[in-house]
Amino acid sequence: MEVTAELKRDMFWHMLLSRRLDERAWVLHRQGKIAFHISGIGQEAAQVGAAFALRRGEDWVTPYYRDLALMLCLGYTPRDFVLSLMGKREEPNSGGRQMPSHWSLRSANAVSHSAPVATQAPHAAGIGLAIKMRKEDKVVLTTIGEGSTSQGEWYEAVNWAAIHALPVIFLVENNQYAISVPTDKQMAVKSAADKACGLGLDGRMVDGTDVFAVYAVMSEVVAKARSGGGPSLIEARMYRITPHSSDDDDRSYRTREEVEENKKRDPILVARTQLLESGVLSARELEEMESRAKAMVDDAVAYAEKAPYPAVEEAAYPVYVEEVRRA
């Protein structure tokens, strides 16, 4: 589990790409080119650190809507994302049926995600159960916001995994708000990781703004799960830097000062500083990365803008498996 310089750069690259793509989504929204965006800005470290701890493409993931960076690590592309922002036919989540950020990437074992929060948690337990039944050495990662751990659905899923020692990692991305509601109105414990003791599994807190810290903790618990050691519950703590979504106005419930203060721990900043200072990344390499990211994002937007919408008839199917048509 040595973290090579190359690995570090690769992680940073995915964080950066995600950030630039996410920023562009906000621009597209301001330009009136898309109707909705829900952002992962500020959560890239947790997502990339988690993704890199997996055998990507082989392990399974039931993600949640802020996981753009996670999905990019799994093989989702900027084009895929912008296509879905625009409801274009080719987008891989749903062929234009779902809102953006409702991920699905079959080829990467990233399961289709819906809007009702926490529904993905029992799916992860079920996948873990299937893995165990088949005696495979895969693991499943499921992510969720801290507010959504208030759902009984999440509790039941974690309980299942704990009872049956399933290979599931429950990663809580605690960005300190559920839309407007702060964590202390969601739980009477200090951290979602504290919930682990009541459910009989390992609980760990990690600094969710530090990608390498997340990677280290995740690598440990993934290894443990893979070798039959059972599930873990990780809280990665960070801050939701943007409003909840493009429909939200966060000025009613938090001060600008608070937001500015928290931006100092922007995970991109944190990682960049670390990499530059340790010499893992040079200023020139960084510049190259930035322009590569920009080029990919530009390309994605250009591509998606030209891409066709689904044909009207496509709305009618596939309600049942019998109706699935491959383009």
Partner: protein
Amino acid sequence: MPEMTLIDAVRMAMDEEMARDPNVFIVGEDVGVRGGVFRATVGLFDKYGPERVIDSPLAELSIVGVGIGAALYGMRPICEIQFADFIYPAFNQIVSEAAKMCYRSNGDWTVPMVIRAPYGGGIGGGLYHSQSVEAFFTHVPGLKVVIPSNPYDAKGLLKSAVRDPNPVMFFEPKKGYRLIRGEVPEGEYTVPIGPAQVTRAGADVSVFAYGMMHHYTLQAAEKLAAEGVDVEVVDLRTLYPVDRETILASVRKTGKALIVHEDNLTGGYGAEIAATIAEHAFQDLDAPVRRLAGPDVPGVPFSHPLQDWFMPNPDKIAAALRELAAF
């Protein structure tokens, strides 16, 4: 009389009822400082404080379950479900508990409670922010189900709902929140739960609709008028228990019935109205009972062409009316 939007009327009703009765309180996600994601409760937190405008944990089951408990104690909770699509986690509490409490205790225990939820499509919300859920609840004796179609009724019906000693499901057509405007008197008035309203008298065809579809139906009826077809429009308003007399009287007059809703066709609310007409106005019918509804797919798709395919609109209603008139 001031003109206002439907959502302003909803807020006004809650404000007046909270001022009138200290037992009335609001509980839901983001209803506090944020004033609700649709801004239905803006200003109420400042006016009535955190004890009467409660930001719940992100968990619909307990929003309703806690509401029921408070109602049993004599309070008058207004529970907000952020989107009707997210009401399912609370299904057990609504159907097993709220609906059955009075009957099962032979009247000893009652649940005076309102559950408000924005419903309906056409707003780019995809599968999980567009749903119509009324049919699940119009099958449940013990509940009342109300859907207003204009600001006047929204205020008057919501005030009645708050005062009603039974659990009332109050679904608000969210596409109409700001689009539907109308005159609303300042002072005290209520609109009774129960009676439907003939909103346009006509001789040739009867249309039964509610919410946003009622709004569209009036538009369609105007078109038909220009073509010489005299359409009667009935706004059902209270879906359960339904006003059979008004429905049957209308069909007896016109001999033709169309029911319109945006929820998918099969097992939708229109089935009950059609069945009622087929059983009790059979001898007055001059044509098959027609239903115009959303198609039988699992939800309203996101991408605009697909969404347009799904949603009933004035043109589709007019076409159905033309056909029925020509029968």
